[in-house]
Structure formats: C-alpha cells, structure tokens
C-alpha cells in the first residue's frame, strides 16, 4: 500500500475559512430576506435624507429593531451560561411604566433632569430585578427557566399596577429623544444600541469575561474544578440582561411617548431567544456570538417588516413568520446541511461502487 502524498492539506484555505465562518449563514439568511423584499419593492434599499434625518426601509428596520437587539444582547450572555431569561418582556414593560409614570407626575415633565431621574429609576429597578433572577439561579440553584418565569408572570402584573391598568402618556422632548430622536442623521436608538453592542463586545472579549462565561456554560463541572466562581458570573449576566431589557423598554415607550403595561415588550423574550439561536449561539451554552445575535435580531425585524411590505393578511402573519423562521433555522443547522448534501450525493450515480480509485475524482467535484 503506497499512500498518496497529502498534497491537498492546505487546498482552498481562504474559501474554507469563509465557508467555515460562523457568521456566514446568519448573514446569508438576512441577505436573502432583504433581497426577497427588494423583489417586491424596488425602492426597498433606498435611503433618503430629509431634514437632516435618514429615511428608508432599512433605517426603519434598524430603528424598530434596536430594542430587540438590546434584549437579545443580554439574552446572549445568559444563554451562553446555559441559562435563559424569560422575564425580559416584563422588565421592558416595568421600565417603560416606571419612567413614564415618573415623568407624568413630575413637576416639570419636559426638563432634562426629570428625564434623567426617570431613566435612573428604571435602570435601578431593573438592576434589582436582575439581581433577584441571579440570586434565584446562582444562589438557590433554581432552574433558570423557572426562576425567570416568576418575574415574567409577576412583572407583567407589576407593570400594570404602576400605571393603574391604564396607558401612561407623556410629553417630554428629552425623553422622546431616546427612542424617537435623531442624532447625526441616525435614529438615536440605533446609535445607542450600536454603542452598547460595541461596549459589550469590547468588555467580554478584552477582559476574560467572555471566556469564563463560555467555560461555565460549556462545562459547568470542569469550570467548578478550575476554580471559576460561577455564582458571580451568573448574577452578572442576569443583571446585564435586565439592564438591557430596561433600556429597550425606555426606547419602546419613548418612541410612542407612552407606556402600556399590557402590551409593551409582549413576547419579546421569544423573539430575543430566536435571535440568539439564529445568530449561532446554542441553547446548550458555551460559545456565544454577539455579531450573530445582532444579525439574528435584524433578521427577525426584517421578517416583521416583510410581513407588512408583502401585505400578508394579518390572520396568516404568524404562520408565515413561523415558516420563514423554520427555514432559516434549518439552513443554519450544520447537521441538516450535511444530511441534505449527503442525500444529494447518494442520489447521484455512485462512482465508487465500481472502482476503488474513483473517490479522488469525486473529491475534486465536492
């Protein structure tokens, strides 16, 4: 037996690196969705400047997607630790209700100082809510899904209590800025979300935070034995998730100048989980990808936009969304791609059935 030299060891290095990049499939899914929209609306990619503001469908996707990006950002770190945070939707509602409630009862609702205290109040309460989640999970060892379910259910009620069951409307120019304002051509919400994503990426990857979170999520037993203090990390990610949700809640309520305890952030936890998964972070914890999460959140927001641009009848919206999500998830799954590929190969005529030397030719075509 004379083995042939391993010449193809380095073949296609660059192509393979691109094909193997973990952001490739999320990016392709998003691109396909955008192009699908372009086919129906030829000015879908058009961006215009009016009054020093950018306008267009893409800008809309970014602006309306900003809260989801933030919620998914916090969710990513929680999921990376093998956890899940179902309470973010309630935190969104509580934050909006607290801020709007504070502004509506303040002496000078339109002042910057009122806005600042409103924001601080919302963030402060979110911090406590996140700590409560973290304590249940890390301190008492409650399953994350159960621990955060408590706040998911109770928090919605709290948000309604804050507004006495009513929608709180506010008129405050500084507060309006957060979710509806513009700065340097861009919607302020988009800039804020981008800044928070960049900051999170910087902190997790420049400190050892990212690695230790991935370690705790990837193998908790091994992490315990190398002396990682998982409790502190867990508390940290739940607090971070709650803070992200609170900022998202401020954006949403600011955009519409009102807080609706019933509906603000309803089901956003599910969209956020979906965004994380589409972005390539596994629900089983371990390696996370913030870039992937952003792509995933934009994919979901684009999908919502698509539903409008295509004029999908409202009663089929959810089914349509679910269908697209399934397709996106399947395309993303390496196991599914391998299966599909294998099936194609086995259906094709099989040269190696007849000759032992044939496979090398087959390799060149694969």
């Amino acid at each position: 037996m004379t083995p042939h030299p391993a010449t193809d060891r380095a073949s296609g290095g660059a192509g393979r690196r691109l094909a193997g990049h973990r952001l490739l499939w999320p990016a392709l899914a998003l691109l396909a969705l955008l192009l699908g929209n372009l086919a129906f609306h030829h000015d879908f990619f058009a961006v215009r400047v009016r009054d020093g503001h950018l306008y267009g469908s893409l800008i809309d996707i970014l602006q309306f997607g900003a809260p989801l990006i933030l919620v998914a950002l916090g969710m990513t770190l929680v999921i990376a630790t093998r956890g899940i945070d179902l309470s973010v939707g309630s935190t969104v509602a509580i934050a909006g209700a607290l801020a709007c409630g504070h502004i509506s009862t303040a002496a000078r609702p339109g002042s910057v100082a009122t806005m600042v205290t409103a924001v601080a109040l919302a963030l402060g309460v979110a911090l406590v809510l996140g700590l409560a989640n973290g304590l249940l999970v890390a301190g008492l060892g409650v399953q994350p899904i159960v621990a955060t379910l408590i706040l998911m259910v109770a928090g919605r009620g709290v948000a309604q209590l804050i507004g006495d069951g009513q929608i709180i409307t506010v008129t405050s120019a500084p507060y309006k800025m957060i979710g509806g304002g513009y700065w340097l051509f861009f919607p302020f919400a988009v800039l804020l979300a981008a800044a928070l994503v960049a900051l999170t990426a910087f902190v997790t990857r420049r400190s050892a935070l990212g690695m230790l979170i991935e370690s705790v999520g990837g193998n908790p037993a091994a992490s315990h034995l190398v002396g990682i203090r998982a409790g502190g990390l867990l508390a940290l990610v739940y607090v971070f998730s709650a803070l992200c949700a609170a900022v998202a809640g401020l954006m949403i309520s600011s955009n519409v100048s009102s807080a609706d305890g019933n509906n603000a952030g309803l089901w956003i936890e599910l969209d956020a989980i979906l965004a994380v998964v589409i972005g390539g972070t596994a629900l089983t914890g371990g390696r996370f990808s913030l870039g992937g999460t952003v792509l995933g959140a934009l994919t979901i927001q684009t999908l919502s936009t698509t539903v409008y641009t295509l004029g999908v009848p409202p009663e089929t919206t959810l089914v349509f969304k679910a269908f697209v999500v399934i397709v996106v998830c399947l395309v993303q799954s390496p196991a599914f791609r391998a299966k599909a590929l294998r099936r194609r190969r086995t259906n094709a005529p099989r040269p190696h059935k007849t000759a032992g030397a044939a496979p090398q030719h087959q390799e060149a075509g694969a």
């Binding site: 037996m1 004379t2 083995p3 042939h4 391993a6 193809d8 060891r9 393979r16 193997g20 420049r206 400190s207 050892a208 935070l209 690695m211 230790l212 991935e214 370690s215 990837g218 193998n219 037993a221 091994a222 992490s223 315990h224 034995l225 190398v226 002396g227 990682i228 203090r229 990390l233 371990g286 390696r287 294998r342 086995t346 190696h352 059935k353 032992g356 030397a357 496979p359 090398q360 087959q362 390799e363």
Partner: protein, 511 residues
C-alpha cells in the same frame, strides 16, 4: 487481497480517506477483520485510530475508499445502521446517559417489552444478568452518573456485547480499568472470539496486545503502516513501527524513576490530613504529603482512591477530620480554596470534568490560571499564546495548533492539554488522577519523567493510577485503599513488589 484459503473478512476497509478541516486524519488506510479473531489497532496519539473506527461505523462519512461488510460494499450514514448490521461499538469517550439508571443504559433501544410497554422488571433482571457476565455486581437501578468512570466504561462494554453482534469494536476499553477488570474483560472477549465474533481492539498497553490479540494493524500519522500477525512482532518492533524510529524512552520504561525525595528532611509535611472522611465515599484516613515527595494511591476499582483525593481538593467537601497545610489548619471547602493554597487536581474524567469542548486548546490550557485571576485581570493574548506554544511543544500536543478546538483533538492529546492546564499553575501539591489515561507509550514515559522532575524540584505529588507498575515506578510512598478505607501506607523501597502490593490490596493487611 485475501488468498483463497483464508476466510472472507467480515469487515473490510480499503483505501479509506478522511479529511477534517486542516487535518488529513486518514489517508489510504486499509483494515481487514476476520471472524473469530482479536485484532489490535495500534498507533500513537492522533494517529487516526478513533477516526477509522468512526468512519467504519458511520459516525463520520468517509471522503474516499470503500467499506465492505461480508464482502459487500456498505456505507453507513448513521451508527445505528452499523449496529443493525451487527457491528457493536464502544467509542473512546463513554457516551451513555449519566442521568439514567444502569439498567436503562445497558438495554435502551432494545428494552424488553410487554403489551407494547417497557417490561421494567424484565429489563432490570436482564441487565443484572449481563453485568454478571463481567462479574460486576451493581445495583442496576442506580444512576449511571453516580459510578466511577471505570464502572461506566464497563457498563458501556456490557451494552455493546450483544448476542447478535458479528463485530465488536472496543476503543481503549481498558484505559481506566484495573488488572481484575481487564482479566474479566479478556475472558469475555475470548469467549466471544470463540463464538466467531471479530473483535477490533484499541489500546496503548503493549502487554495487553501480546496477551490477547491475533493480528495487529498499525497506523502512523493517518497512514497505514502495515498489518502483522502478532507472532512477527516484539514489543520493540511494534513500537518502532508505531513511531517510525527508535524510541529512546522505551528502555527507561522499566526500572524506577523515583529518586530520593527531596523535601522529606523537613519534618513538616506540605499537607497533613487527619481522620479526613466523607460519609458514603471514604472512611476516615490519615495522610501526609511532603514537598518533593510522590505519594501513590493503590487499590482496586471503587476502593475510594478518587474519593480520597477529591477531599484534598475541595471537589467534594469532607464531613469529618481536618487538613493542615504547612501546619496551618485549613478548610478546603471548594476547589477555589484549594487552588488558592497551591493545590491542583487533574480529574480522571476528562470529558465531563476537564475539557470545555467548544473552547480552543489555548483557552483550555490557560483556563485554570485565568480563573485564579478572575475576569477583570485577563492574561494578555501574547502571554496566552506563549504559554500555549510552550506546553504544546513540551508535551508534544498534536496538532500543534493553539487555536484548534479541543473537542476535535484525539483522546490522548486532550489528556495532555489537561495536564498542561495544571502544570502551568506551578502548584505546590499536584493531584493526578489517572494522568496517563489514553496516552501513548512514548508520551507516557515523557509524562512520568515530568512528574519525577517536578517532585525533584520540590512539588508534592499525589499520584493515582489503575496501572500499579506506574504507581510503583514513580512513588516514594504508597497508600493502599480497600473498600473505601485506607488500609496501609508504606515506603516504596526495593522490597516492594507488585505482588506484595496486590496481596495488601486483596487482603487489606500489609505483609
């Protein structure tokens, strides 16, 4: 290939090729398995043994070549198909369900049924019968995860030994077994062989190959080196063919590595345990470990070696007794406490307690060091690269790529990464639980020498291994455990022989 007089191989691979991103794992490999033979598959760590097995059984698709079952081409796309075709496999990493019972793990997928429902009592009875074939007496309703790795390995073997199997593939089944279990396993294997089953057997223990196997296929760097009847090989030629050259380490494999303990003059031991105990896992025991001294723990499977060691690291918390470190009373409540006092513990269970499979080799190597610093004080990337490169070279980890995902490394190379993780923390007391598990013969000598050198430099070492010869070679002092009790401790001088230690292990009395 086969001459007319020889029977047809039951399983045959021809010119198999397997390419992973960046690694050509198999390149033109052939293998023939005949009914009623025990066939050894040999090669260094990373040579491609496990990959060949996975390609044969449909875990990985081959990139080229053909696989014949009973002379007919077969390409399994799923391990289940291979199993249905009569090929039973125990993969290198035990992949059973720790949160199911022993009985369920053995029979799941072919559980006895009655009225369409699982017949639970029959299932337990059948599982117990199968276990007795290996002379194992376990509570079959206990959770698999509550047992030691060696027991889990045996359960995986029992699961694979199906009456209908034509081929039984065992990838390093003996890596954490003691002499007793190995003997029992071999009896079982011989019985199956006599029934006409073909057995493919991977191991790094040369004596087991010569003891059990009829023919040997040797892989080197993913290529086929050759196929030999066992009679044509000696241990020396076998090793030469595996590594493709002379092995300097081989002649050092005999004899004793332990020099004079360097730190024994100082009366104060680094660690002193008194009446240390944990209900249900280890009876109260006393142990002193001095700096510069290697203390070996000997005992049978389930005698409490691992359990005793875990108390010294805070991996389990003791519920009685005390520990003094350099004379000072210390409560080792968590691994973090122990690490802060200069103790390191390399677990025997590299998959569930060691590796973080998704992270890279570099990240796994620096993990313990980074954990002591906390997340706010990251090791600079340049420093991480430097450490990773140093240890990859020192332990000859292959592929020598710090950014390779650790889950993709071969078993032996993963083990080396774990050792690197703890060695670089420069511990005062190094607890090694089966550190050479799955490591090839050349690297094993290398690691033993490293342990001896660390001890020379003043590190205290607690060494646990199912391989008694290894314990005897390295240790200055030996503590024997039996039935969760420490029954004897003695100096490892020239009067100590494996047989004498066995007597102590068996009878519980120092002779």
């Amino acid at each position: 290939m086969a001459s007319p007089s020889t029977p047809r191989p039951v399983l045959e691979a021809q010119d198999v090729r397997k390419q992973f991103p960046g690694v050509l794992a198999l390149d033109g490999v052939a293998l023939r398995l005949f009914p009623g033979e025990v066939h050894a598959l040999m090669g260094e760590n990373g040579a491609g043994k496990s990959t060949l097995i996975k390609v044969l059984t449909g875990v990985h698709p081959a990139d080229g070549g053909s696989i014949l079952v009973d002379g007919r081409p077969h390409a399994f796309t799923d391990p289940l198909h291979a199993q249905q075709a009569g090929i039973s496999t125990v993969y290198q990493e035990v992949n059973l369900c720790p949160n199911l019972s022993v009985a369920e793990n053995i029979l799941i997928g072919r559980e006895p049924r009655r009225f369409g429902l699982v017949h639970w009592s029959a299932l337990r009875k059948r599982a117990a019968e199968l276990l007795t074939e290996l002379d194992l007496h376990l509570d079959v309703t206990s959770l698999l995860g509550s047992h030691s790795l060696a027991v889990q390995q045996l359960v995986a073997i029992v699961r694979a030994v199906d009456v209908s199997a034509k081929v039984l593939v065992l990838d390093e089944p003996t890596s954490s077994l003691d002499r007793e279990e190995v003997a029992q396993l071999f009896t079982l294997v011989r019985r199956l062989r006599d029934r006409g089953v073909a057995i493919l057997f991977v191991t790094h223990f040369l004596d087991q190959v010569f003891d059990l196997c009829d023919r040997v296929t040797i892989l080197r760097n993913g290529r086929l080196e050759g196929e030999y009847p066992i009679g044509e090989l000696t241990p020396v030629t076998l090793v030469q063919r595996m590594i493709g050259g002379e092995l300097a380490a081989l002649d050092q494999l005999s004899g004793r590595d332990a020099g004079e303990p360097s730190g024994r003059a100082s009366a104060e031991p680094f660690l002193r345990a008194r009446r240390l105990a944990r209900a249900g896992s280890i009876e109260p025991y006393d142990l002193d470990i001095h700096g510069g001294e290697v203390v070996g723990l000997a005992g049978l499977l389930g005698s409490g070696r691992t359990e005793a060691a875990r108390l010294l690291f805070g991996a389990d918390s003791a519920d009685g007794g005390e520990v003094r470190i350099e004379g000072e009373r210390t409560a080792l409540r968590t691994p973090r406490h122990a690490i802060a006092r200069g103790i390191a513990f390399c677990s025997e269970n590299r998959k569930s307690e060691g590796l973080v499979g998704e992270l890279t080799v570099r990240e796994n190597i620096v993990l313990a060091l980074q954990a002591t610093r906390g997340w706010t004080r990251p090791l600079a990337r340049a420093q991480q690269d430097e450490l990773a490169r140093h240890w990859i070279k020192a332990l000859d980890i292959r592929p020598a790529d710090p950014e390779a995902q650790i889950g993709h490394l071969s078993g032996g190379n993963q083990q080396k990464v774990l050792l690197a993780r703890w060695l670089l923390t420069a511990p005062r007391l190094l607890i090694l639980d089966e550190p050479t598990r799955g490591i090839d013969i050349g690297a094993k000598a290398e690691i033993q020498r490293l342990v001896a050198r660390l001890a020379d430099e003043g590190t205290a070492v607690l060494f646990i291994s199912a391989e008694l010869e290894e314990v005897l070679r390295l240790s200055h002092r030996i503590a024997v455990l039996r039935d969760h009790r420490m029954v004897a401790t003695f100096e490892n001088d020239d009067s100590v022989t494996p047989d004498r230690v066995f007597t102590t292990i068996a009878t519980g009395a120092a002779s």
